[in-house]
Amino acid sequence: MNSDILISVQKVSKCFNRGRPNEIWPVREASLYVKKGEVVVLKGPSGSGKTTLLGLIGCMSRPTSGRIILKGQDVAKLPERFLTEIRRKTFGFIFQQFNLIKGISVRENILLPLYPTGMSFGQMSERVEELMETLSLSHRAGFPVEILSGGEQQRVAIARALINNPDILMADEPTAHLDSKLSMNLLETLGLLKSRGMTIVIATHDPLVFETEMVDRVYEVRDGRVRER
């Protein structure tokens, strides 16, 4: 196996409500891998299981069976509290809804992942100023997030995902709530991140996303099964 493989998912299945009449298997025996610096797209219609798969890759939940090797360590069987630590150190998430906390400022929203860490307030504000500069949010720093435009909210979400210097950026339908112009802006931002060496995994059904040239590989997800294209 190639040594620059960051994540390798091997025959992973996930089941909800096992043994009950409403048992479902949103992911069945999925296998895929992600290399360092790649942009990988999970493509599929809504309800195909790609969000669940993204959650499994991103250590949000544990699979029912199968192995997930992250940087050489099998994380599929780890207890929740260690998954959290790995998730915090390795992944940055951008959600379909922006999932920002209303009523607090842009700065505080971006800083959220750093609160339960040992980083000092000084270091935190240094990092956040730098990041807001990159994503041109500085003029909005003290504003409550709910008065920002959709594009700005998306950038806040990206900044929050990047604040803890993750290895991998996970994005779930990032363009779902954006018009095509803003979507293009988002893709530019992602391209910029890729050029800096960031690994990116995107779950989407938006052709605008998986047809851009920065995408290295596309997996098609249908009924919980994964096929490389």
Partner: protein, 335 residues
């Protein structure tokens, strides 16, 4: 007797704690039956989540135990005016013999909850939940003890009859009396002092050794000596340490030093002794649990911390208890 504000507060607190403990005991039974760290079933996941509840509640219970022990002594002490012949907490405890058992159980439960929290800290620092079963079993041991404490507390206060003429510390802790307390007093001061000095010397030697060398028997010895030191020190407080605080050769009461007249010196004295015992005992307990835990470095780091704090609190206790012997003009020579 029930409508004393302090007694109401104690009853209320005990009721709350016993209920919470009962709840986590039910959880613990499920943990003991179904815990399987290798499984990724939903049952296992829900059990893992319930361990958070258990440790949260245990943290609160430890906090409660500390407050309630102080409140108990305080309340018992403030009741002394209602009993003929009682001049401090001792007299009121004698008024209904159950009182002593409540006190002993409170001390024991305080120690046990402290140890539980220590074990929990080790468990939470290791990836594989190595001690969860042990912790659950300990909760099940703690439940009857704390419930018994609550029950005896109720029986004690309800059974207090202010018409009873009780003896006070003056006659209780005098050499003529019967029972454990008086036999403690009857120990010749010289022997008590020698025992005290011996035990604490051993304590510091074994502590330093277990800090320096990675030999497990040193750590066990250190823990065992800390328990000995705890017992010997409590006996010594009755036998001779308190005398120096009161500057009276016949006043042996271990509770009066908690009062304002003696600058509340009893609080730092007992608190440092408790902390010293709990942390030193944890050194040995961690040693015993070492083979269960995968990450030995975590054990080492925690052990270092507990041993060091055991030594520091021990030193603190010694300084406080020896202070008046060194700096006051009162001597026990000739008694």
């Amino acid at each position: 007797m029930i409508f004393h504000p302090g007694i109401i507060a104690l009853f209320l607190g005990s009721a709350v704690v016993v209920l919470m403990l009962l709840y986590i005991s039910l959880l613990s039974v499920r943990v003991l039956r179904y815990w399987d760290i290798r499984s990724s079933s939903e049952l296992q996941l829900s059990l893992e989540r319930k361990t958070y509840l258990t440790s949260t509640i245990m943290n609160y219970i430890l906090g409660y135990q500390i407050v309630s022990a102080l409140l108990f002594i305080y309340t018992v002490d403030s009741l002394h005016t209602e009993f003929v012949g009682a001049m401090c907490a001792t007299g009121v405890l004698n008024a209904n013999p159950v009182g002593w058992y409540v006190l002993y159980l409170k001390v024991l439960n305080l120690l046990l909850s402290g140890l539980w929290i220590g074990i929990n800290i080790l468990d939470q620092r290791s990836p594989e939940y190595p001690l969860t079963r042990l912790k659950s079993a300990l909760v099940l041991i703690l439940l009857p003890l704390i419930a018994a404490e609550g029950y005896l507390e109720v029986r004690y206060f309800l059974g207090l009859d202010p018409a009873v003429i009780t003896s006070c510390c003056g006659s209780m802790f005098s050499a003529q009396g019967k029972g454990l307390a008086s036999s403690l007093t009857a120990i010749p001061v010289k022997k008590a002092e020698a025992g005290f000095a011996l035990v604490w010397t051993l304590f510091f030697i074994s502590g330093t050794l277990s800090l320096k060398y990675k030999v497990s028997s040193f750590k066990y010895v250190f823990s065992i000596i800390s328990v000995l030191a705890f017992v010997v020190s409590l006996a010594s407080v009755v036998s001779f340490i308190s005398l120096y605080f009161y500057e009276l050769p016949t006043h042996h009461c271990p509770f009066d030093i908690l009062q304002a007249d003696f600058n509340y010196v009893g609080y730092p004295l007992y608190i440092s002794l408790f902390l010293c015992t709990i942390t030193s005992m944890l050194t040995g307990i961690y040693e015993a649990l070492r083979r269960k835990v995968e990450r030995k470095d975590v054990v080492d780091r925690l052990q270092r911390k507990t041993t060091l704090s055991g030594l520091v609190f021990g030193l603190l206790f010694l300084i406080i208890s020896l202070w008046p012997m060194v700096f006051s003009s009162f001597t026990l020579q000739g008694y």
